[in-house]
Amino acid sequence: MNRILAGTPTIVRRAGWAAVLVLAGVATTFVLPAGRIFPFSQFVVYLGAAAGLTVLMGLSGQLSLGHAAFMAVGGYTMAFTQNALYERGFTVAPPAGGSGRFASAAPPVAALWTLPVSLLAGVVAAVLAGALVGLAAARLRGPYLAGVTLTIGIAVPSVTATFAVLGGEQGFAVQVPRRPSWLAADIATEAQWRAWLALVATAIMLAVLANLSRGPLGRDLRAVRDDEVAAALAGIPVARTRVLAFVVSAASAGLAGGLYVYLTGTVLPGYFSFTTSLFLLLAAVLGGLGSLAGAAWGALFVVAVPIATAELVGALHAGPALAQRLAGNLPLALLGLALIVVTLTARRRPRSPGWRAVRSLGRRGQDGRTPSGSLHPSAEDDRKVGAAP
């Protein structure tokens, strides 16, 4: 493929790959049973957020333990923008097909164009938040950075739960656009349509992330990550580069947060809890820090394991008491087990630079230097992969 496309500009090639991803995703929504569409959309959203996190950790070597907070900023901003636009009267007639009492209670729905606007607003807000945190983060290392992001990850959901204007613990309903009327119900359901839009938005974001990480910014990030003094001597503005990494990563999380709100039609603190932050971290680490494809595996794992274990427990026909005990706990145990196994066995991944950020939590001052992360395989890296035990 790459050889065929040899003459075309990189950006066009990436756009092509993004289009292929979207088409594959759309096809998937037709293969999956109806009840699996929503988990699939969740996977797409988590993939976006995990990809942003893996760029931050793998490429810039900075750590964020509270990435769901950026999702919350994006999600809540998207929600407020969407409702404000709706109240301004940017609406269309409700979709036909409502019956009886429900039809009489069907108010107009938000126009489709409001969605990209509100998503963009969410991204902008997340960018601002990312810049703010990034400014602090640029001065912090290892456990101190972890501490700050941890605080943010715990504080933001609590703040959203506390203030009445943010809807408190039960959040509020968001007026999101429905499936357009030209799309007949027997072709695609509402859930499928929402999955498609999430796919498109996430694919665009992945293309941008890939482009950034392989362009000048990515080069600067790796230079700063590997040796700040050398990078500064080479004329790279160290602090600004580190802040930029946070901004880019927060932007992807903000988009993911907005998409999650779109998928569910509601916004509440529970979506962006500290557990979500840890799941994103888990997805990024499981897939291999710094690897966009790895983020996909990680996100898939995080979404699929709880479902698979729930089905397993159901299929076991265990007694109600045992099933009850297994229901919520088994997925967590399996995720933990997988993390341990991956850490012990995937030798190449733990050596990636972002991993040092995680490890430095336990071992301050340790700073073994390895070449670039797997997001950016050089010829040298390729040889090493081949030679890996």
Binding site: F38, F102, A105, T162, G168, G171, N329
Partner: protein, 435 residues
């Protein structure tokens, strides 16, 4: 009567249906009767000739699992009891219970699975305010009935906005209005300083609104807490320093126990009045352990018969069903609650008739007139989807929580608090409501 399911079925299945219909003609003499309906019956999602499927989201694990996890099992036990006696209109009631761990993000996933994969007819008794809020508008958009939400938030009573959503228990404002009215009128509390200790959320806020409406005056002092901070000593100090005689607790059971225990350690024992979610004696006493004597004299509120009253015919019936169909788990307020939900569902299904549709279900509910184990009637009408219309007050005496005085009814708005004098219903001999 022709049988036209929404989803195409194989011709053989249809042939069976037709054959069944013909057989029915032979037995009953008429299939569609003389009053032939103009439109043939189209079964909604989740309703087939032999089954009707309900689904629910419950905290089977996580922080809210204690106690609450028994509710859905009890409802299912009641359905099993009814199914063993032939079901409703020849249909067995299937109840799919999904665990959301009291996490709204999980609620999103499991409710979508119930609706889109398991194809339930309705969501029943979904538990929790934050969790159920997450799926409220989804269920409306999907046009899935959302029956008897297991929470006292006033949000479930918005028939104009959410026509398919119905509450079950009295909302917090209604309950607190009755409590406020009682504190204002009872001679024992004349001239006493009434204070409140409430959860800092929708629950605490709507309870306080009702309390102050019932009292007719603001409380002397109010303190709040958040569940993430277990230290309540500052709040105890504040209320004691304000000279409170009565502390109204709009709390969750763990914080009911925490406040009472902390106050006792600081040498203070005011009169406690606990909201319905705060004061289930069994749960709070278990948390307090050796200190459970501190609950003596605590005033509470409820809308179902007292569990301790073993001579009550409802308690007798449900204890028997609990023994036969629920593995004989300890019979407490949660089991009773679950059974009461099941009873109401069967009653509604009976009244809605065999050719049930979503609209017919809603119309049946809005017609009202349901009598079951409740001490007060339901508020259901075309303009109200609120649940039980009031409460009766209870008191802990000698370790037993039992009712005293009359039951009261009111609403979450400006209706006065009035005594409810009608006698409570008795269960039919079969234990199954008729149409």
């Amino acid at each position: 009567m022709t049988w036209l399911p929404v989803h195409p079925v194989r011709a053989t299945a249809r042939a069976v249906a037709v054959a069944g219909c013909v057989a029915l003609v032979a037995v009953l003499g008429a299939c569609s009767g003389s009053k032939t309906p103009a439109v043939p019956y189209v079964a909604p999602q989740g309703v087939s000739e032999k089954e009707i499927v309900f689904g629910t989201h419950q905290p089977l694990t996580g922080p809210a699992a204690a106690g609450y996890s028994k509710i859905a099992a009890a409802t299912k036990a009641y359905f099993d009891y009814v199914n063993a006696k032939g079901g409703v209109h020849g249909r067995k009631i299937i109840y799919r219970i999904e665990d959301d761990g009291y996490n709204p993000a999980n609620t999103q996933t499991v409710v979508r699975k119930l609706v889109e994969q398991d194809k339930v007819f309705a969501i029943l008794n979904g538990l929790g305010t934050p969790t159920h809020s997450a799926v409220l508008s989804y269920l409306k958009d999907a046009e899935i009935p959302d029956l008897f939400v297991s929470s006292g938030s006033p949000a479930w009573n918005q028939p104009g906005k959410y026509p398919g959503t119905f509450a079950f228990q009295p909302d917090y404002t209604t309950e607190a209005k009755v409590v406020g009215h009682y504190l204002k009128t009872a001679s024992a509390f004349a001239g006493q300083k009434i204070c409140s200790f409430a959860q800092d959320d929708d629950y605490g806020a709507s309870y306080l609104t009702g309390l102050e409406t019932g009292l007719g005056t603001p409380v002397t002092a109010r303190a709040t807490y958040v569940t993430s901070n277990p230290n309540v000593a500052p709040q105890v100090d504040k209320l004691r320093d304000a000279g409170c005689d009565v502390v109204v607790l709009a709390t969750i059971p763990s914080f009911t126990a925490r406040f009472i225990s902390t106050a006792a350690k600081l040498g203070w024992r005011p009169q406690y009045v606990a909201a319905y979610p705060a004061g289930e004696y069994g749960t709070v006493a278990a948390t307090l352990g050796d200190e459970k004597d501190l609950l003596e004299g605590m005033v509470g509120a409820g809308f179902l018969p007292a569990v301790a009253n073993v001579s009550d015919p409802w308690i007798k019936l449900f204890t028997r069903i609990n023994q036969d169909f629920n593995g004989g788990v300890a019979f407490d307020g949660h089991v009773l609650y679950g059974m009461a939900v099941g009873y109401l569902v069967v009653q509604v299904l009976q009244k809605a008739g065999r050719e049930i549709t979503v609209d017919k279900l809603i119309a049946t509910l809005e017609k009202g007139g349901f009598r079951g184990p409740g001490l007060v009637p339901f508020s259901y009408s075309a303009t109200s989807h609120a649940g039980y219309a009031g409460v009766r007050l209870s008191k802990v005496t000698g370790g037993v929580q039992d009712y005293f005085g009359p039951a009261y009814v009111t609403d979450a708005g400006s209706a006065p608090v009035t005594e409810y004098t009608e006698a409570t219903a008795t269960p039919p001999d079969s234990g199954i409501p008729s149409a």
